[in-house]
């Protein structure tokens, strides 16, 4: 843990269930250098005193908003310079790990517990950008060649 204390970790997820899963994990990890981002104002960081950054929500159905989101995420990466980016989805998290790779960060995609039989579309697309590509359901471990189960927030 001590060699990890200085690592900057950016936790990012859409509001709602994605955010709640991320908060359970972040509270358990309890990193000093944790930064947080979500899509709804008024979220409290699960650890530390830093304010939660707010990024716009967007999906494939709204390309204009995706461009705004991408620029906000690029700004966020440049400001935080995370060593690791961890997301529980959805579309904003996918875009975040794509941009994080450009900045040289390591990336973790944790597919939502909501997807207990098949990965979400974002989850499938995340394989390209995720250094760790995780499901939270043991029965889905290795159901795709790179997909792994390493525990869950349950």
């Amino acid at each position: 843990m001590s060699e990890n204390a200085n690592k900057r970790v950016l936790f990012i997820a859409s509001a709602g269930g994605h955010w709640i899963q991320l908060c359970r994990l972040a509270a358990e990890l309890n990193y000093e250098q944790a930064h947080y981002a979500t899509t709804l104002k008024g979220a409290k960081a699960p650890t530390g005193t830093r304010k939660v950054s707010v990024v716009p929500d967007a999906s494939r159905s709204n390309p204009a908003k995706l461009v705004v989101l991408a620029s906000r995420l690029t700004w966020l990466m440049a400001r935080v310079r995370p060593h690791v980016v961890i997301t529980t989805g959805a579309a904003p998290g996918l875009l975040a790990i794509g941009i994080a790779k450009v900045f040289g960060a390591k990336t973790v995609w944790i597919d939502s517990l909501a997807n207990s039989e098949v990965l979400s579309l974002s989850g499938r697309m995340a394989e390209r950008y995720a250094d760790l590509w995780l499901t939270q359901w043991p029965h889905l471990d290795a159901s795709l060649p790179r997909l792994r189960y390493m525990g869950s927030v349950l």
Partner: protein, 161 residues
């Protein structure tokens, strides 16, 4: 207080109307509904569309019983706070969601203590008419959470910029 929540993304008029009509019929005045973009106009429930995550958490902490769509946020929070939760999954064949993952979630959690899955309005009413019989959900061992955190700590340890 009974708290209904349907998430932020889509309307869920079938559930909102069923709970509201039950409250009207039974004279319950302590039902609060987070109804997102639902268009049904409740007659008995006090309702709001959306509040901040922290305000939502306060309402959930105050609730004696939770009723929700099969969203992970609602289920996890009920387990964390130790509340009984009635889960009514969205049916994508009725256009209530993009795909059937809420049905999958309902199936996966149907054996979880304190989580009561209702797959029809009839089942929902059976639970609502027997609220005393509903046990609280529990947080579980969190062993899988500790395992995930350990694995991620090892991974983070390998990251350098």
């Amino acid at each position: 207080m009974i708290l209904l929540s349907v998430g932020t993304q889509f309307p869920f008029d079938r559930l909102v109307q069923a709970v509201d009509e039950w409250a009207l019929r039974t004279g319950r005045t302590d039902v609060l509904g987070q109804i997102g973009p639902s268009t049904y106009k409740p007659k008995a429930m006090k309702c709001f569309g959306l509040v901040s995550p922290d305000e939502m958490r306060d309402f959930q902490a105050q609730a004696d019983i939770m009723i929700a769509h099969a969203g992970m946020g609602s289920i996890l929070t009920a387990m964390e706070l130790g509340k009984p939760i009635i889960v009514f999954p969205r049916d994508h064949t009725l256009g209530e969601h993009r795909n059937g993952h809420q049905m999958d979630t309902a199936n996966r959690f149907s054996e979880t203590p304190g989580v009561f899955v209702a797959r029809s309005v009839e089942e929902l009413l059976r639970y609502l008419n027997n609220l005393q019989g509903l046990l609280a959900a529990q947080n579980g061992s969190r062993a899988e959470l500790a395992r995930l955190a350990d694995n991620l700590r090892s991974f983070i340890g390998t990251a350098h910029i």
